[in-house]
């Protein structure tokens, strides 16, 4: 009982969402474009969280579902109980990363997020060329999208140099005070 309470309280206090209000109607899953690529559809994720067992919580944190969710907000919009599933997904991803138990199929997605954020941390803005390079190194998928490069260059869609904001220290500070100095791998 106390375990049950602590997990739903944890979900509620970190995401602000009370999953106990879900009555398992399945509307979220019915409208989820990613459900077929998930191991547990959104409705089932809610159910697993409701059980409150640490075992089920970990199952969710290890799932592929939380990483393929696109935050399209369809489930939240249509849920008769206004359960903010995408927000819960955010919190679950954060926790899954913290515990280092993210699903193996999520490695490219996580590599993308990390490459994206490290560009911003350094310059304040996203430099897509730098992000692509870092992403390729992180995934070792060096050939991905190389065929696009010449046409992207000719269409002026790639900047050779990053834009750096004046007060980049302010952005660096935001990273240090939120994700911490050494949390990023």
């Amino acid at each position: 009982m106390s375990e049950k309470k602590s997990i739903s309280t944890h979900v509620k206090s970190t995401s602000g969402v009370d999953v106990s209000h879900c009555y398992q109607c399945g509307k979220c899953t019915a409208g989820c474009v990613q459900a077929e690529r998930m191991d547990y559809p959104p409705q089932y994720i809610m159910r697993l969280l409701q059980t409150g067992s640490e075992e089920n919580y970990e199952k969710v944190l290890r799932s592929r579902s939380i990483w393929v969710c696109l935050n399209c907000e369809n489930c939240y919009e249509r849920c008769p109980q206004s359960i903010d599933i995408p927000h819960v997904m955010d919190m679950l991803r954060e926790e899954s990363l913290k515990r280092g138990i993210a699903h193996k199929d999520a490695s490219k997605i996580i590599a993308f997020h990390r490459s994206f954020l490290s560009q911003i941390k350094n310059t304040g803005r996203l430099w897509e060329v730098g992000m692509e390079a870092e992403y390729k190194l992180r995934t070792m998928d060096l050939m991905q999208d190389v065929k696009l490069v010449p046409s992207m260059l000719s269409k002026g869609k790639l900047s050779i140099l990053p834009e750096v904001i004046v007060d980049k220290a302010a952005v660096k500070k935001i990273f240090d005070r939120t994700v911490g100095v050494e949390k990023e791998k």
């Binding site: 970190t14 474009v33 990613q34 690529r37 393929v68 696109l70 935050n71 399209c72 907000e73 369809n74 939240y76 919009e77 206004s82 903010d84 955010d90 919190m91 991803r93 954060e94 990363l97 490219k108 997605i109 590599a111 993308f112 997020h113 990390r114 994206f116 954020l117 560009q119 911003i120 304040g124 803005r125 996203l126 430099w127 897509e128 692509e132 992403y135 991905q144 999208d145 696009l148 046409s151 992207m152 269409k155 002026g156 869609k157 790639l158 900047s159 834009e163 904001i165 004046v166 007060d167 302010a170 952005v171 500070k173 935001i174 990273f175 005070r177 939120t178 994700v179």
Partner: protein
């Protein structure tokens, strides 16, 4: 007319620069005062919120605070992803004093209360008369207005259009002479920010969107989101793998379509930067 601040965000300065260029060109031809805010940072887009809630609030909070401190009352945010992050941040912080104080402490400034405008809200508020007056090249084609996710959902935060069958883009293209089609995929997801990390998925989801639009005879897709645009345009080879019949229907930003209707050339609104060619004779009345 008071100057509206512009937050272009990274995409509009990089791989979707044609959107940024066409926003500025349209503002110029319609005589709408617009000025890029200074020293803005990335809003964290689809990555920050997957990693840290605090980071996903603090990055947009700095942008909101800059806009307010630089004296703008309204901030135009054309990118749908930036728009969504800024709106979400403002919504969250306005409803939670404790969190707002914490985030203000992290960014070292007050968030302020600038009014955030999507490109549709900006046009509806300031451009209707100017478009009617300037329009000299009406669009004759049937077009599919594609809203995607972030411009309409969640409705409790966005508080804009009808959520399952939005009308704002439809009304704007009508103003330019075009015929918006009725279709089923207006607000379905194209795959969003997964273009690089899950390209095949994007191909499938975007193909479903293109399939419906082309079946119903759309000659162009009209968007207001750089992610929707690059998924439907740059990822067209992946889309065509999933289509019954390969399609070459182009994808235009609303600002490009309106710009051309108001006499700007294709070059002035940068349609040449797209991967799928735009055929003027099929869309514009000459």
């Amino acid at each position: 007319m008071e100057k509206v601040g512009l937050y272009p965000g990274c995409s509009l300065k990089g791989s979707s620069r044609e959107y940024g260029e066409s926003v500025v060109a349209l503002a110029r031809v319609l005589g709408l005062p617009l000025e890029e805010i200074k020293d803005w940072n990335c809003c964290g887009a689809s990555s920050a919120h997957a990693v840290s809630k605090e980071l996903s609030l603090a990055l947009p909070a700095r942008v909101l605070s800059l806009a307010a401190a630089q004296g703008y009352k309204e901030l135009l945010v054309p990118c749908a992803a930036c728009f969504s992050r800024l709106k979400t941040t403002q919504h969250t912080l306005m409803g939670d004093d404790e969190r707002r104080k914490k985030i203000e402490d992290i960014i070292g400034a007050e968030v302020g209360g600038v009014k955030i405008l999507s490109v549709m809200e900006w046009l509806e508020k300031y451009a209707i008369d100017a478009i009617k007056e300037k329009m000299n090249h009406p669009i004759k084609a049937r077009v599919a207005c594609y809203y995607g996710c972030l411009l309409v959902r969640p409705s409790g935060v966005i508080k804009g259009d009808r959520v399952e069958d939005p009308q704002s883009l439809d009304n704007l293209v009508k103003l330019a002479g075009a015929t918006p089609i009725d279709w089923a995929f207006k607000t379905e997801c194209c795959g969003g920010g997964m273009s690089i990390a899950a390209t095949e998925t994007v191909g499938k989801l975007s193909a479903a969107v293109m399939e419906d639009a082309t079946h119903r005879g759309a000659k162009a897709i009209v968007v207001a989101c750089p992610m929707c645009h690059s998924n439907l345009d740059m990822r067209r080879p992946y889309i065509n793998k999933n289509m019954e019949k390969a399609t070459d229907v182009p994808v235009l930003y609303i600002t490009q379509l309106l710009g051309m209707a108001c006499g700007l050339t294709a070059e002035e609104v940068s349609v040449g930067r797209h991967f799928v060619n735009y055929k003027e004779e099929e869309i514009c009345q000459k």
